[in-house]
Symmetry: C2
Subunit: 116 residues, 2 copies
């Protein structure tokens, strides 16, 4: 299990990595099948090197990891990174819910200085 406390740079890399359709597709694929980079590359209308770069971005973000298998590198998705991102978003929703509480406080309090 991965440490759940992400610093700002890690969050940057996480969301930035997810902000590209090719990379999201790669993540979805390697979450189910561990796949070599070259097999991945066949699926996309770009060069092998371009796919390699996308994988590197995902790896720096912690969304995938590679392991050597003979001459190929098998890429596999890391669901923990996705959960960490999801937790982040949940925290924003909690901030939002806290606001509701305050509004209800305001409504519950009798209007002071209601100078309309």
């Amino acid at each position: 299990m991965v440490v759940d406390q992400l610093d700002s740079d890690e969050v940057d890399r996480l969301f930035a990595a997810l902000a590209d359709p090719t990379r999201r597709d790669i993540v979805a694929r390697v979450l189910t099948h561990e796949t070599s980079v070259s097999v991945l590359a066949e699926r996309y209308a770009m060069s092998f090197a371009a796919v390699q770069k996308h994988v590197a971005v995902l790896e720096r973000a912690g969304l995938v990891s590679k392991r050597p298998h003979g001459r190929e590198r098998l890429v596999r998705g890391d669901v923990d990174a996705i959960r960490a991102a999801a937790r982040l978003l949940d925290q924003y929703e909690e901030i939002w819910r806290a606001r509701i509480g305050r509004i209800e406080d305001i409504l519950a309090a009798p209007a002071e200085g209601d100078s309309r």
Copy 2:
């Protein structure tokens, strides 16, 4: 409520907008307080125009919206966009869980050709 079906470009904009610490901070702030752009700008060590641009990025991503209030524009966070992003991530986790099912199938099946 916002339409929940996001196309690829919208997802790109969503995650890209979240991939910046200043923008995440702005979102957190305006989720609780509706805040003018100039008041927001005081909080960050950059020019007013730079903050304005960040707000514009967030707006294009659907994470905030602006409403005119006299000469100022009040920015408020939209939690629906955050929920949409969270749902996206949940879908990746579901993809991952589906893989588990398949692994269990493999384990359940008697080993064929178990040539160790």
